[in-house]
Structures are given as structure tokens and as C-alpha cells.
């Protein structure tokens, strides 16, 4: 396959991944809740793609994932779209220029990125409006979602590593 077609199929694979994870997350009764939350699988896809791709493709995948997450829940583009765009751009840059994304380095990226993403979400949605009992919500739902998202991103790392190595420009 040519370099161009490799890239096309790779990005197509990412988009299909995003759509499938979005369906998995949003279809009622499909994924069970564990400790009061479900993992944000779309975020897992975006982060794992970001560590393999360069800044701009990483940013675009982050943007798509963020828009899907936002519109899927709130009917408006907002916190996830903006945060994921920024985080994926930074991860894409860092993984290519600062710390190469081997598996253990990826865990570090995922830990920081997932933590940052949900802390921004909690800050904007709960802390700034001064929601009552916000820390109860944080302990009961946000922590669980952060941990699950982090853990579920590990299989996606291997899936996307496989896609990237099979359909990378060099492979062509």
C-alpha cells in the first residue's frame, strides 16, 4: 500500500474507533457502571492516538473526541472539546519531541492527562458554580471514572500501537 493510502486507512481506523467507543459509552445498558461511573472510552482513544501521531493529527482526534463527548451529553460544545484539543496537542508534541511514548511513558502521560482532564471538568462544572455536596460527588463518581478511564486506556494503547505500526507511513 502507498504511504497515502496507509495514512487514510489509519485515520479511518481511528475514526471508526471513536464512533464505536462513543456508541459503547452512550447506549443505555451496554456498559455496566462500576463504582458509580463508566470509563470515558472516547478519551482513551484520543489519548492513545495522541502519543503515536504528531501534534496536528493528535489535536484533530482530540477535537473530534471532545466534540463527541460534549454533544453526546450536553448538546453544546464545551469543556471536553476544548480540554481534549489542548491536552492531545500537548501530548502529541511531548511524545514526539520530549519523552518518547514507550508503554511506561504512556502510563505517565495517561495518568497526568486523565487526571488533568477530569479535574478541569470538576472545577468548571462543580467547583466554580459552588455546587452543594460536590466533594461527595467527586469521591463517588469522578475518582472512579478517572481510574477506569486510565485503566481502560491500556488496551487501547496496544490496539492503536498495532494500527500505527501496521499502517504507519514507514510501513508503506
Amino acid at each position: 500500500m502507498s504511504e497515502r493510502s496507509n495514512s487514510f486507512f489509519r485515520y479511518l481506523a481511528y475514526v471508526i474507533e471513536l464512533i464505536l467507543t462513543f456508541i459503547l459509552c452512550t447506549t443505555p445498558g451496554l456498559l455496566p457502571e462500576i463504582f458509580g461511573a463508566k470509563p470515558a472510552l472516547v478519551v482513551c482513544v484520543a489519548l492513545t492516538v495522541a502519543v503515536f501521531e504528531r501534534e496536528i493529527p493528535a489535536m484533530i482526534i482530540g477535537l473530534l473526541a471532545g466534540i463527541l463527548t460534549d454533544l453526546g451529553y450536553t448538546d453544546s460544545i464545551g469543556i471536553f472539546a476544548i480540554s481534549l484539543t489542548i491536552i492531545c496537542f500537548i501530548v502529541g508534541y511531548a511524545a514526539n519531541n520530549l519523552i518518547v511514548a514507550k508503554f511506561f511513558n504512556y502510563l505517565l502521560y495517561a495518568f497526568v492527562a486523565v487526571g488533568l482532564l477530569f479535574m478541569i471538568y470538576f472545577l468548571v462544572i462543580f467547583v466554580i458554580p459552588g455546587t452543594e455536596h460536590m466533594w461527595d460527588y467527586f469521591v463517588a463518581h469522578i475518582v472512579s471514572r478517572m481510574v477506569q478511564t486510565f485503566l481502560f486506556s491500556i488496551p487501547f494503547y496496544f490496539i492503536n500501537h498495532f494500527i500505527y505500526s501496521t499502517l504507519s507511513p514507514e510501513a508503506g
Binding site: I56, L63, L71, S76, I77, I82, T85
Partner: protein, 282 residues
Amino acid sequence: MKEFFQSPKIKIFLSVLLVLIMLSVFTRNVENNVISATFNTLTYGMSKVTAAATSDNSDNKSYDELKKENEELKTANRDLRSRLVDYYEVKEENTRLWMFYELKKEHEDYTLIPATVLRRDTNDEFGSFTIDKGTESAVSVGDPVMGENGLIGWISEADVYTAKVVTILSPQTSIGAIDKATGDAGIITGSAKYADDNLTMLSKLTSENKIEKGDIITSSGSSGIYPKGMVLGEVTEIGYDTYDTSRYAVVKPYDDISTVVNVAVISDFKGQGEILKKESGD
């Protein structure tokens, strides 16, 4: 690093971010906007299919079953609504009675009749009102009427089920009163000058009085109409009557008489009418 910040990548990134922020503002402020509508249209079919695939068929009910369930829910709702009304009435009654519980504990000789303000006389600028208790509840003309924090008026007319209260803001009122701190005596009577501000007057003070701002004024009980020691208010100002050269004090009742809702009528107390009886016996 410096090169990175000057590269086209960062410009693209910042442009995308700017567009995103604008879209965010747009989608938040415009209801049924194009972006959300497009997204919903695109995902509608997908959601229908996945929802149908995962739906639990045990929830499917026939029209008759749903209709029956709806009727049952309506009946239950009606019952709950009625209970809620009862609950609020009991709660209100409880609050009202609790308010006078302390007073009753302090003055065991008082016979208190809790009452609620039914209506206010809009033509009377001295705050008179009608309560929901009358002669059937042993309310009689002349009985003192208490607010939450002190004496606020007296019964001027009593029907079987209602009674009219003239307040201490009215010039019709005349209650023997005393300054708790100095022992100076006077007459509590309303004044058109002060009534609008929820104030009344302690008049007929001697020129040697030592009344000061902040002193608490209570009933003296000298006439046998009002019990002794009932709080009437606090002195806020001391004045001089230019007509008869006597002095007076402006007194602020502790209750806002124009808004009071729950009151208690003192239908009997120790020493009631004793002085009047003595006077008529003489």
C-alpha cells in the same frame, strides 16, 4: 522550543482553539443550533438502533396496562397531595403553638388562645386586623393580644368566630406602661405621626423622668385590663409635647405589627379586672 512557538503548527492550534471557543459560546447560547441539530440528526439513527438492540422487552406494556397504571398513579398522586396539604397545616399550627409555649411556661396564670390573622383593615393606617377566633373560643372585648415578642393590641369587637384587634399603634389604645429601668410611668397610645413606621408613643411622662434610649417599656398592670410586665417595646427617641408641655418617648414594638400573622389572645390572667371591680364597688 522557540522554533516550535513560531511554527505553523502553533498557529493552527491557536486558530482551532479560537474557533472552538466561539463554537462553544454559540452552541451554549443558541437553542436548537445548527451544530447540535446536525449532530443529533447524524446520531439519531445510530442511537435508535443501539437502543433497540439493548432494550429490555420486559418493560413493554399494552395500552390497557398503561392506562390502568396511569389511573393508579393519578389516584396515588391525589392522595399524596392531600396528605401534603395536611402536613403543611399541621406544621404551621405546630410553629404557631410553639411560639407561645415559652410564654405559657413563664406565666402559668395566662389562658392563651392562639389565633391567626384573617385579614387586615386596609382603611386603617394603625394596623388593625381581624383574627380567626371569636366568642365561641372565649375571646371577649378588651382582651390583650400578644405577638411573638410582646403585647401588640387588644380586642375591640368580638363576633362568634372572629374578632377585631386594635393595635398599640392606634390612638384608640391606652395602656398604662412603665420603664423597666427607671420606673417612670406613662400611657402607651398610638400616633398618626409614628404609626406608619411601626412606632407608638409613651406619653404623659413627668418632666423629671429619667427615660433613655434603649429602655424597655412594659405594661404596668395598673388598670386590671392588661397583665403586669408585658413587653411593649423599646424607647428609640424622647420628645417634648409643645401643646401641654409634657414629655413623651417614642417606642418601637419588637414585632412588626403590619406583617404579624400568628397571635395569641390572653382571655384570662391573674388579677384581670380587679381594679375595675374595686372602682365599680366604690
